[in-house]
């Protein structure tokens, strides 16, 4: 693999940046693979990378119907954190955050992780009690967490309006200092490049149209670029997981919704942390380009259209101005939507499906980006050994029958 370094940068600068190599090959699909991963977003590419690196399974194809990272990986608000309430969630998201912390060095690709701190605001006494409870739960699980009172919140984020006359006054906030943002596209590109280097075939513009299933056991996939035999097949298709699972005759407890985000025009640095608020419902950070990046809740109706309704954005802007009145003159530049697959308990499904050799990593809903490295890591283990990784075991599909739900609705402090 071509190593990126200060020397390679200097060398290419002298050649006017004409000779940078391609990050990954673009091979024709082979007739058969040990593992076929359906979905070339961050989670699918990370799964392929860890399959090759940790389990020695490099005869892997990642099939992507569009282009790499063109789905939710390239559409999220890039927030990375692990301050979840329940033990199972804290464990898997903290596992991911620890991988994030070494990811740029591991992939030799700058994913621009910026641990600038994430504030989750509390606006009423109920919020305060829930937030402090979550701080304690996080600390018991080894996740860094602090409770800040109003003055400390103002000191940490001076531009925030904390005046007691605000309609929803800021009574305090939780702070995870190790949380922050990362460059979303770079995560897909970095994993793709590293997986490709280990022999994984990344095949774009290749849509899966069906599965070959013989006596309850998957044996291959049908695609727009021909049939491909496979020992194991992993579905990692985010909003389209239900559609793919239905091709294999499996019903999933998922509903697909649009989740919208938008950015403002670029301005000078004004916000050096991430601010999230559940009660007024917006989350915002400032990108390195200077744009404010914002998101909030899903559109309530089911959709696959990658766009939502304007009132959702209007509500988001109202929330933003409630917290930051000084942003009122900012113009918004772009808005877009991604399709998120939401579980009834707002936790993911990672594990085996009722068809032998078929696996699912989905249901990450509105908060999958932050989990990308951890999700791929535990899912690769689950596929390679045909048994769930200990951190993935609680997220098995059968929890909806057993009743052992991991109810992160609200418990996660904000709609992720």
């Amino acid at each position: 693999m071509y190593r990126f370094s200060i020397l390679s940068l200097a060398r290419n600068a002298l050649r006017y940046h004409q000779d940078w190599p391609r990050l990954w090959r673009s091979p024709e699909p082979k007739p058969a693979y040990d593992v076929v991963i359906v979905g070339g977003g961050g989670h699918g590419l990370a799964t392929a990378y860890y399959l090759a690196k940790e389990h020695g399974i490099a005869n892997v194809a990642v099939l992507e119907k569009g282009w790499l990272g063109g789905g939710n990986t390239g559409r999220n608000t890039t927030i990375v954190r692990s301050n979840y309430l329940w033990d199972e969630s804290a464990a898997i998201y903290e596992h991911a955050l620890k991988l994030w912390e070494g990811l740029s060095a591991e992939l030799n690709f700058n994913v621009m992780l910026s641990q600038r701190g994430v504030l989750n605001l509390a606006h009423n006494q109920g919020d305060v009690r829930e937030s402090i409870r979550r701080v304690h739960a996080n600390r018991l699980n080894g996740v860094d967490a602090e409770w800040l009172d109003t003055a400390a919140v103002k000191a940490f984020c001076p531009i925030l309006d904390v005046s007691p006359t605000a309609r929803y006054p800021v009574l305090g906030a939780t702070l995870q200092r190790r949380a922050g943002v990362a460059r979303h596209d770079a995560v897909a590109w970095g994993y793709a490049r590293a997986a490709d280097d280990r022999g994984v075939d990344i095949i774009q513009n290749c849509e899966v149209t069906g599965f070959d299933i013989e006596s309850g056991c998957v044996s291959g996939v049908r695609t727009t670029r021909g049939d491909i035999r496979a020992g194991k097949v992993a579905i990692v298709a985010a909003g389209h997981n239900s559609v793919l699972a239905a091709m294999a005759g499996v019903r999933l407890p998922l509903q697909s919704h649009p989740l919208q985000a938008l950015v403002s025009e670029p301005v000078k640095p004004v916000l050096d942390c991430v601010v999230m608020s559940n009660a007024v419902h917006v989350y915002v950070s400032q990108s390195d380009k200077g744009e404010l990046v914002m998101g909030a809740g899903i559109d309530a109706f089911n959709s696959y259209a990658q766009r939502g309704s304007f009132p959702i954005i209007e509500h988001q802007m109202a929330a933003l101005l409630e917290l930051f009145p000084s942003f009122s003159r900012l113009r918004m530049m772009r808005s877009w939507g991604g399709i998120v697959d939401v579980c009834p308990d707002a936790s993911p499904i990672v594990g085996k499906l009722p068809v032998q050799g078929l696996y699912l990593n989905g249901g990450w809903g509105t908060g999958g980006f932050k989990a990308t490295p951890g999700s791929g890591h535990v899912f690769a283990h689950t596929i390679a050994r045909d048994e769930p990784h200990p951190l993935a075991a609680p997220f098995a599909l059968d929890r909806f029958t057993s009743g052992a739900l991991i109810d992160e609705h609200g418990a996660a402090a904000v709609a992720h």
Partner: protein, 89 residues
């Protein structure tokens, strides 16, 4: 952005409505006799098609009555709206 023709009030803006998920999901009458898997099926499993979908809406800021809609989830096109109790198109 949807313009929804409430069967009682006529066309109104989407913000006047609330969404109720998949329509025509009947609560089992023999709940105590169901297995865990059958109960989970009723409780948690809903269709999630890419294409026409029968769903419930309520006109919260209007007549506050529930009705059904057939809508394409890939295009947001509203194909049909019909009252509760009427046969689905």
């Amino acid at each position: 952005m949807l313009l929804i023709a409430c069967p009682y009030c006529g066309p109104r803006d989407e913000v006047e409505f609330h969404y109720g998920g998949q329509a025509h999901v009947a609560r089992p009458t023999n709940a105590e006799a169901l297995s865990d898997a059958e109960w989970a099926d009723y409780l948690f499993l809903r269709d999630n098609p890419k294409g026409p979908f029968r769903e419930r809406w309520v006109h919260t800021a209007g007549c506050r009555r529930w009705f059904n809609m057939l809508r394409d989830t890939a295009t947001h096109r509203i194909i049909a709206i019909y009252k509760v109790g009427e046969p689905p198109p």
